[in-house]
Amino acid sequence: MHRAVGSLPLAPALRTRLIAAGFQTAQELLETGPCGLSKEIGISKEEALEVLQLVRQECHGDSPKPAAASGTSRKCTALELLEEEQAQGYIITFCSALDNILGGGIQLTKITEVCGAPGVGKTQLCMQLAVDVQIPECFGGVAGEAVFIDTEGSFMVDRVADIATACVQHCQLIAEAHQEEDHLKALETFSLESILSHIYYFRCRDYVELLAQVYLLPDFLSEHSKVRLVVIDGIAFPFRHDFEDLSLRTRLLNGLAQQLIILANDHKSAVVLTNQMTTRIGQNQSTLVPALGESWGHAATVRLIFHWDNGQRLATLYKSPSQKESTIPYHITSHGFRDVQPPAVTPSAEDTEMNPRKRPRREEEQ
């Protein structure tokens, strides 16, 4: 109610006029009423009414309501956050070593960035995640849908079909080992066609299309409320060449990062970005560092760097607020992203990886 007039989201011209006329708080505006306002400022009565409606909307949004969870400002205790995070699922990657160093998998509501040289497996991981996000809850997944924004054109549908088939087979094996009602019912809807139809694909050719698509994503996610994963494959590619104005680039990237953070939080989905590597030329040596500059490093919450070492692919957790830095090897097989040693063949060991939530019940049974 005592909000300063200068901070209201009005048109700039109107705002300057109001301040010049001496109005200082929103309360004064509301007290004056539309007719008085129009006479003092010299605007039409309809415009004055619009101004007042806007002011009222803003002020009601600001007043503290204990139970309201408006998207813009949420207050909660760390205990509530802890409970929320524990109840939240992770998107598994089918490579148990990678899931372990990430603390369970790709976290929802956070931005994860995957950097690496070409050919090391970033797009493979993205395609694997687009399939894994759809795993039903009884198998340990989050039962969500995926949005795939492609800027490089490296999305191959046949490869996704292979990965999806392998995932469905894996779930079928588990269902056979357990013979439970909800497993079998979930398997009826978890098929190749349903997996492919829930991956929403956008091909952005340049950075303007990418910006436009990210502006439209909140509406898209509100319509498709089951989306739990947004992948942007190749955030660096449209921004790297043909950009003379580096400060504009930094500004656009920061805006993009902020929008993605808001998106991840409001819609409880994970955002995965892939980045390229560039050479930084130091005094007497050159090192490979993630592209897009130092300021972009702050955008992602979790950063993974994929690299080669004598023919073995390695993944390093480079930045994470909760897990420690470590490196693990991984493989890309015809079934997708996998560990280097295949996990133990016995079904019980497999299930503990897939269904951490199911573990207590099975121990009781045994």
């Binding site: 806007l54 549908v157 929403y200 952005c204 303007v208 436009a212 060449h241 500004r251 390229q276």
Partner: protein, 284 residues
Amino acid sequence: MAAKKLRRTRLPQELCERLSRCQITTCQDFLCLSVLELMKVTGQNYYDVQKLLRKVSQACAPKMQTAYDMKLANSINPSSAFLPTTLSGLDGVLHGGVPCGSLTEVTSPPGCGKTQFCIMLSVLATLPVSMGGLDGAVIYIDTESAFSAERLIEMAGNRFPAYFDSDEKLLYVTQNVHLYRELTCGSVLKRIMSLEEEIISKRVKLIIIDSVASVVRKEFDTKLQGNLAERSNFLGKGASLLKYLAEEFSIPVILTNQITTSLSNSLATQADLVSPADDLSLSE
């Protein structure tokens, strides 16, 4: 899409005129501004500016497809998804052949047969669909002057003697392979930019660039300061143009590359000349 004029995005006329007075005429200019700048320039409040942003974004955002629709589209026309190379082992590994709609890079040390492979594919592309070809023309951008028309005819005649039984058919092949000799990076880029209209007018079904590495190596010495950035710029521009052409027309694009030695602390390993800054998509 970026250069789409705001006039065509169904924004109100007076608004477009007001924006053009501030030099904002295309979607690109509009979307590059921050929300505060947009409020100043359009003179509207925050919520209306958000609505305008959404309208302009809808005008230039890409269309959504589900992965399932893409798979159906591929399976309806399987012959148009690949160009078989007629080397059965290679076709098996590539799931059918050189994929249409994406870039493929062929690289090897000198003398292994890259140019021969390219000439072979040119012949295959001009064959009718019934024989596994694409029944179209070929654009061959040659930077090393290694293309030989005689070799083309020799290959065609010896590989498919039953089909090429008359001189007319051989002539048809040579008429459909359009050769461009470009010797500098700038001319290669200009040629790529002019390809769109040629592809439509000449019914081109295959683009070959042999080789990207030789022009880049000649012109950009990476030991000099600033050359690395320019080189990446050139490669990035070329790559994105070629990707656009490949996807738009669903044709394969083949690039050849050379091998260089990358000296690291442990061993001298063979590495592709065109550096990883390029990120071309390779088929599996």
